[in-house]
Amino acid sequence: MGARSYFGQRLVAVPGLLLILSLPSLVWGASLDLKVFPSQVEIGAFFRGQRVTVTDLIPQGAEAVMEVVGQASDEHLMRKGRRGGLWLNVGEIDIHGAPSLYMAMSTDPKLLEAAAAAEPWGYPALKTQVTMSGQVQDPERDEFFEQFLKMKESEGLYTIFQEPIKKSPVAGGLVPVKGEFQLPTNVRPGSYEVCLSVIQEGRITAKNCGELQVAMVGFPAMIATLAYQHGAIYGILAVVIAIVTGFAIGFIFKGGGGH
């Protein structure tokens, strides 16, 4: 059994290796040319989102699709339905494998608009990764995936940008490209993957990836640590602050209040 499994793996691995060797132009992974600026975003007390710039070099005549993808997590949602003539939450739907953030931009926006499920970018590609469980029937999945996208777009967490990645004049046989996007104020702290796919003759010939780190710092970080790690102390502190403020304001207004 063990030997069969071993040879089975070998049989799969060899053609896979040959396929990779037969595609010398396909470069997959971190690129020295792909630059994300800033690569670390700090969420401080006065965070108003962050403008992020991504630059790279692509071959002449090629197109590019840039994606910013957050870590996948489970989302617990309620579906609405009509009961007794009223619109109510009628059941739970859990969404699995959906990224916390998804943003896409291209040198040619048509690439994103017309993205098919076979393409590894855009919403159709996301649909193949996302699964649903709970009170949802198979025929309803497409409808609720659309609703999920609509919800995420309204929260500013999923965006297909209409403005294209800018191309600069050719330099040294390569075209410098620059994509700019705004990280929303409700972006979660964590690690985000920024990838730029190079497309030639309708297929991806290279995919360069970089990392974008988002972290809470200073006062928000202190409050979040207290809230999530010392809930009881945090709750009592919140009540004490509220009572002291209530009394203080009451005392300040005492002179004008009368009896």
Binding site: F47, A232, G235, V239, I241, A242, G246, G250
Partner: protein, 312 residues
């Protein structure tokens, strides 16, 4: 200068002036009517982009400050009946515990949302409608002096009085100027506590009419006593939410409470200038507006067919 401030638990940035204004407006109503304002503030915060669970929990925290400020101001005016407030509070805690269990059962049966929404609409409609009509009639007939108790129909008064007098454990509540059974505020407190737990609010807007119409307390004592009772209810809710759900955003609560405590002071001043029936008709109007808005959201097809769990 940037007026945006990051809220670490809500996970979003929001304009400080907007939050301060919201806090001030709701605190003002709290001071005028003796209601916590949760039934107004939480939906407004959700509209401003705060997750519903964080909005409800942080609102409880700011109500602690607003009701401290308001209750203190009313205490100085001699408007808090601590004895009555204590019975209502004990009943409210018992009722709240029962209500939470009831919601658990309803959730298991899949009927929780229906019951919550219908309870909201019916309670707001009945309380708002009754208060509005009764106050309007009183204002049309004769201007009632400030703090005077309402005078419902004579037949029902005598029946209700006989019922109250027949109950055991009769007790004098000096500050409210009434003698009634200690069981009455306890039972009514349980009733309001159950409703408050089902609706996820402090229950001030139910407690105020209960005190006025069923406990026959004068309006000015009702407001102060209601704020005293709400204070303790919201202290409990804030600590429980911080420990179990991690949904209290201290930064959000502090900005709201700065606005609401200031607003509450101005509200208390206005409440002293208005007559009891004027106060009631204003509160009734606000309650009815919220009821209509909620009813509309139930009838009009929603923009999105999905919502985050814990929201409305």
């Amino acid at each position: 200068m940037s007026w945006s401030l990051y809220l670490p638990v809500a996970g979003n940035s929001i304009n400080i002036l907007l939050l301060f204004g919201l806090g001030g407006a709701v605190g003002f109503l709290s001071g005028v009517f003796g209601v916590g304002g949760g039934f107004l503030m939480t939906p407004l915060l959700i509209m401003a982009g705060i997750p519903s669970t964080v909005a409800a929990a942080s609102d409880s925290n700011q109500i602690v400050a607003a009701s401290t400020s308001g209750a203190y101001a009313h205490y100085r005016l001699g408007n808090v009946d601590f004895k009555m407030g204590l019975f209502l509070l004990i009943g409210g805690v018992i009722g709240g515990t029962l209500g939470v269990q009831l919601i658990k059962v309803l959730r298991a049966m899949g009927n929780a949302d229906f019951v919550i929404k219908i309870t909201y609409v019916v309670m707001l409609g009945v309380i708002g409608g009754y208060m509005f009509v009764e106050s309007l009639q009183a204002l049309r007939k004769k201007p009632a002096p400030e703090g005077r108790r309402p005078e419902p129909a004579k037949v029902s008064v005598s029946r209700y009085n006989r019922f109250i007098q027949s109950l055991p454990y009769q007790m004098r509540f000096d500050k409210s100027g009434v003698t009634l059974s200690a069981l009455l505020p306890l039972i009514l407190g349980i009733f309001v506590g159950i409703l408050a737990a089902i609706m996820g609010v402090g229950g001030g807007f139910i407690m105020v009419p209960v005190m006025v119409y069923m406990l026959r307390m004068p309006m000015h004592v009702v407001v102060g006593t209601s704020l005293f009772q709400i204070l303790f209810t919201c202290i409990n809710v804030t600590i429980m939410q911080a420990i179990t759900n991690f949904t209290v955003d201290l930064v959000l609560a502090i900005i709201l409470l700065l606005g609401s405590t200031l607003g509450a002071q101005f509200g208390v001043r206005l409440s002293r200038r208005l007559k009891a029936d004027q106060l009631k008709i204003l509160l009734a109007s606000i309650v009815l507006i919220v009821m209509v808005q909620m009813l509309a959201s139930l009838i009009i097809p929603p923009h999105l067919m999905l919502a985050h769990k814990g929201g409305h």
